[in-house]
Symmetry: C2
Subunit: 455 residues, 2 copies
Amino acid sequence: MSDALVTDLYEVTMALTYRRLGMAGPATFSLFVRDLPPDRGFLVAAGLESALDFLTGLHVDDEDVADLADALKRSPADLEPLHGLRFTGDVWAVSEGRVVLPGEPLLEVTAPLPEAQLVETYVLNQVSHQTALASKAARSVIAAIGRPVVDFGLRRCQGVQAGMHAARAAAIVGFASTSNVAAALRYGLPATGTMAHSFVEVFPDEARAFRAFAAGGTDPVTLLVDTYDTGHGLEVAAEVLREVTDGRGRGIRLDSGDLAALATDARRTLDAAGLTSARVVVSGGLDEFAVADLVAAGAPVDVFAVGTRVATSADAPYLDAAYKLVEYDGRPVMKLSTGKVTAPGAKQVHRREGGGEDVLATRTEPVPPGYEALLQPVMRAGRRTNVAGTPASAVAEARERFARDLAVLPEDARRTRTPVAPRPRTSARLAELTTEVVRALRQPGPPADGSAPSS
Amino acid sequence: MSDALVTDLYEVTMALTYRRLGMAGPATFSLFVRDLPPDRGFLVAAGLESALDFLTGLHVDDEDVADLADALKRSPADLEPLHGLRFTGDVWAVSEGRVVLPGEPLLEVTAPLPEAQLVETYVLNQVSHQTALASKAARSVIAAIGRPVVDFGLRRCQGVQAGMHAARAAAIVGFASTSNVAAALRYGLPATGTMAHSFVEVFPDEARAFRAFAAGGTDPVTLLVDTYDTGHGLEVAAEVLREVTDGRGRGIRLDSGDLAALATDARRTLDAAGLTSARVVVSGGLDEFAVADLVAAGAPVDVFAVGTRVATSADAPYLDAAYKLVEYDGRPVMKLSTGKVTAPGAKQVHRREGGGEDVLATRTEPVPPGYEALLQPVMRAGRRTNVAGTPASAVAEARERFARDLAVLPEDARRTRTPVAPRPRTSARLAELTTEVVRALRQPGPPADGSAPSS
């Protein structure tokens, strides 16, 4: 099914009306997250590549017109104004992997009104869910204080695309590897995995299961020890791992029980067997809170395998992301609904180099010395202005950006529990513009006219 | 990218080992949800069609072998044992739309061990996330006590596939329509939508925006009244709706503020204008709890548009679903890890006709008179045994099944707050089998051998 149809019906209705009325003036929409979920101190931008792929490929063709007519229960002739629509606008965006604060635009679209409106649903879906997943995953990396974290989430993600994006988001924030084979191949990531309990169960005993696995040639050889009795499983695993003398990595995995205590037992058993370099991998319902607790308890864990809770961002599976009209045909606009005031006009974020301060500003005001502009032009007149690269290079570059931003992120924002997100300051010019527009909208007399004095 | 690659790496490693060792005996895996999330009193089976599509299409071809070798960092020759693998097994499953209780299998696969193992990740992903979404959505329908509920979730779902599945799951449990155009077309659902705040903002005033919208020909004409001042917006909307005299449906939408109070204002304003049949649509962060509160408050709401929180199953975005080996080569098996004991062997659920009792039983014991067998054969030797139908007919049939099951669901399970899930009883034969296998696994002496006396 064409991507043009992956949209809310009202986008189609509105775009159609605009096209019929010739309302094709440039509209700027700003995609941002107003407030962060409780246990988030920052966001990590992700999803831009998917959004740009969608915008580049968008084309309402004959078949789409027929399908849209069907969905709207109208004649194809009624839908003709949308025929041939492509995205011909400009996009400014924060690069994937950058840290973003509440209220800062992740992306801004400026395009003829029907196009800018029609792309809302898809772009919002991709940027907001991928940013949610990256922002969650980053917290496990921080909690693990340098020990490797790996992604085991695919099986319980909300669909296959979510599983691909969870692995990708995890890679951006520094995960060491993923169990997701398709994601590893597409994004150039190391693939990882051990064995399932079922593997142990189909052999007559653990020793035979472990030897069969070791003979399979995987590197590392990581044996799952908790299918029956974990203490016994550890002894058997140590015996089999000692037989692996061809230089492959060795380790055991714990997937249930008191992981801190069992990891200590495991380390002791492995060390006693002379397997001091064998790694202890833990999994089973882990998230950043569990990782932090294991680290705080001094558990001798070498690898944290996090799955479901992180890959679905279980405590906050969506972000309060909005795609708001901020300017139309040269007029800054805003709505005044209770609790949802949005500053008008195209924006920029000025970030102090080395961190410590973000300023939410209008797009056009100069970037002060010692600050960088967080939003960059990525599409002009419907064409990408940045180099698309490969899926793997996009992830690798985003990963470097996140590592740099993380290094200067305040401790308050990084905390696992009760983090506090820094808030961007508002520039004097943006504050002034907001006041002007609010005043114009609230002026007494005839119906509010939705416009500010044109600038 | 081939669906064969959408898997955890360990499935590949294990399947490869099994193929190399000639371990191709029939294995039965059972997919079930051990415990329900806190605010769930039942599950609604969904995702079977996707799982069967995957199983039908699975084929490890030349390119997959090369890709897998790449992911495993092995030579393609090492992967050769998986070359040509297709799914040749049997599947028993609960039909989509049926109510399912904790511990009851949603699906059981019996296939040569390598195949049954290799399909785990994809099947688990599809069945568990779609069941999670359907089970969440059902609660909004119950809370709305007969008033229409519509799906507005696409924009904040975890990806496009999640958005398609959220719309589909919502349709199965009785939603009236969806805003998702692609889902409406694919699944034969009514598409629905109103207008965005941005639509109001691009016109000089609300009256002009509303008139332009009404002239657009949509049916119904539903005007969004809360962009600036809701009371004023309502007055303007009533005026414009009175001008719509061509028989189209008419209504207003509220998306912010105190929805109960505003709905009352809206009803009063519309009635005063003689628009007694105009409908009040509410949206904005709704879920079953908010719907129940609006209903309890007597708010005159005609349509509940639920979005993000329902379409992401925000309070429980995943289910604790497992795909457990229960039998291999004629031997019932189970693992004994702390807190995760699973009854062995292929199963069946006997459901008393008319509801009131489920019995978790072995597959082979007779279904008592007055009971039905909940799991049905849907695939034999790799081919579907039920008629595939169209995507739309599958949804329509599932919708009927859910309506029938909902009608006999106990009040405790249906409650919005603090629901209690009924638990299936265990048949005498299954209890006996479990005891036998546990005894065999716990017998003193040499390492537990994972097998029960063969039956």
